[in-house]
């Protein structure tokens, strides 16, 4: 039924009851504001301590900002303890993200001292435009095939891949996606010329980073996917890890370089030295990385 004149008149004059309701709400809101105000005050007080201590020793290097590809999180955080022991009083700050994101941040003037990339291409682009200098290879990472538990019985190697329903790969522009396509092309020489095409019809998603590929396989949403050995390291109870035949595999190379405008170049070089030394290589090996030199094809 349509509201007529009388009913709308009721609407107009019926406000007083609402006011009382509104007042109690206002009181509550006031209480909440006071509470959050106090909370903010407490939070501010605590965070004030840090800048003062920094100002005292501004002349010598006491801080190192490391930009590193997401896959380096485990070995780098493990090595942080090591670094702090040999460089007492130094604050280490990590920023782990996709290599592409870190590159964009560096190009936009991000305050980093050293940059570890999961991909040669981004590093050489940065070197060409003068953002970093003298990159060195410090690790390599081998793509593997991970298979969800549900499909473990039908996939025993790369050649069985067309038998599954859902394959997940990286977007061709992210390193793992590029390597995956190269691997599929090379596999065609082993498993028949149409191998790549037979796998490609099973692709259900092209993820934007390798961790998303891994998580979807480990959640069982996809049957199989291509990730790095380091992603599968320690997750053998969640997924089945299959090695790709070395003859057709494409090994990812990880270069590291000191940022050209680094505020702490000495410490940055110290970090690179640590990585290339015995302790650094041990930590990387523990996380599933390969040594920087060795056999295997370059991408």
């Amino acid at each position: 039924m349509q509201p007529n004149h009388e009913t709308l008149a009721v609407l107009k004059f019926g406000r007083s009851g609402l006011d009382r309701f509104g007042a109690s709400r206002l009181w509550l809101a006031h209480r909440a504001c006071v509470f959050f105000g106090l909370l903010t005050l407490v939070a501010c007080k605590q965070s004030k301590v840090a800048p003062e201590s920094r100002a005292q020793t501004a002349t010598s290097e006491d801080k190192l900002v490391v930009f590193a590809a997401a896959s380096l999180r485990a070995p780098f955080t493990a090595l942080a303890e090591n670094f702090k022991q040999s460089h007492a009083g130094v604050t280490l700050t990590f920023s782990f993200a996709g290599t592409q994101e870190l590159r964009t941040q560096l190009e936009q003037g991000a305050d980093a001292d050293v940059f570890a990339s999961a991909d040669q291409r981004h590093m050489s682009e940065l070197e060409k435009s003068g953002y970093v200098s003298g990159p060195v290879l410090f690790a390599r990472n081998e793509p593997v095939l991970v298979v969800a538990k549900e499909s473990a019985a039908i996939v025993h190697g790369l050649s069985d891949l067309p038998a599954v329903k859902r394959v997940i790969v990286g977007e061709p522009e992210v390193p793992i996606g590029r390597y995956t396509l190269q691997i599929l092309d090379r596999a065609s020489t082993l498993y028949g010329a149409d191998f790549r095409a037979r796998v490609e019809v099973k692709i259900v998603s092209r993820e934007l980073n390798v961790r998303q590929v891994f998580s979807k396989v480990s959640l069982g949403e996809a049957d199989a996917g291509f990730v790095y050995r380091t992603d599968a390291q320690g997750a053998e109870n969640q997924v089945k890890v299959l090695t790709i035949p070395p003859a057709i595999n494409v090994i990812a190379e990880y270069p590291i370089a000191v940022v050209a405008k680094a505020k702490h170049p000495m410490l940055a070089r110290g970090w690179v030295t640590l990585l290339l030394g015995k302790d650094g290589q041990e930590a990387l090996n523990h996380a599933g990385f390969l040594a920087p030199s060795g056999s295997g094809d370059r991408p």
Binding site: Q2, I168, E171, S205, L208
Partner: protein
């Protein structure tokens, strides 16, 4: 109170408000200003743009329809009911607003994925929506519905309860009250909520990426295409972002116009 003081106070308020307005608008202006015509031309012809735009419009229209059809009765019920339990329930359905979208995607997988809680019990696992356009719509409904429910519930609450009593005393059934009293009276609020909800669905990124994946023409919406383009070429990403902003702005302007129309109609009636 002299006139100067009135004027200066008015300007003080404007200046304070202007700070936030500038902060909100400058990044959007930069998006347009920091591109050249040729770069935009290259970006717009990037292969991903058109299929993504089509998919985005299709899925958001569908998700908006679902939100309106199911969300309006829910909001009416919530707006009419009272009690502590209802309050708690109302808060619970608002939660998707604060959950980070990627977490929402994981939650959707855990509920409706292949190993999902209900899969195999309530429906066969061949029905699983993950990696399909249906999954995109589900993700969009999940993140955008709370915005509509919130707006619609408070719009329904603003209706004077006596009006409903009068309608009922004239013999109107609950459905009749819902369609002929509640909805027309709260039309501006509902429309505003629908616009907010649609805008949120259009910008939806995290949950879609997690639950639906990223496949061109099937699950790659405009925000996903922007992120994918970012891996190739920042200029392309910028061009697609401009398309997204323009499309959203145009559609929100339309809603604004409709909204003004609706509230004018409401004022004229008595």
């Amino acid at each position: 109170m002299n006139l100067d003081r009135l004027r200066s106070e008015r300007w003080l308020l404007r200046a304070i408000g202007g700070i936030l307005a500038a902060f909100l608008l400058l990044p959007l202006v930069a998006l347009f200003a920091m591109t050249t015509w040729s770069a935009f031309d290259v970006g717009i012809h990037f292969a991903l743009v058109l299929p993504a735009l089509r998919l985005s419009l299709k899925t958001t229209m569908l998700s908006l329809t679902i939100v309106l059809v199911l969300g309006t009765p829910l909001s009416w019920v919530l707006g009419r009911a009272s009690g502590r339990l209802v309050k708690a329930f109302e808060t619970a359905v608002q939660l998707p607003i604060v959950i980070p979208p990627a977490v929402a995607g994981v939650a959707l997988l855990l509920a409706f994925g292949r190993r999902g809680m209900l899969t195999g019990h309530l429906y066969p696992s061949s029905w699983v929506a993950a990696f399909s356009s249906a999954a995109v719509v589900m993700a969009e409904v999940f993140v955008s519905a709370p915005f509509y429910i919130q707006a619609a519930t408070s719009a329904f609450r603003r209706i004077d309860p006596r009006l409903i009593v009068v309608a009922r005393s004239f013999g109107a059934t609950p459905l009749r009250i819902f369609f002929s009293v509640a909805i027309p009276l709260s039309a501006p609020g509902l429309l505003a909520g629908a616009a907010m909800s649609w805008a949120r669905a259009l910008g939806e990124f995290g949950a879609t990426l997690m639950f639906a994946g990223n496949l061109e023409g099937k699950t790659q919406t405009l925000p996903l295409a922007i992120y994918t383009a970012l891996e190739v070429d920042v200029r392309a990403a910028q061009a697609i972002s401009i398309v997204l902003v323009v499309v959203a702005f145009a559609l929100l302007l339309c809603v604004r116009a409709l909204l003004a129309q609706a509230s004018r109609n409401l004022e004229v009636r008595p």
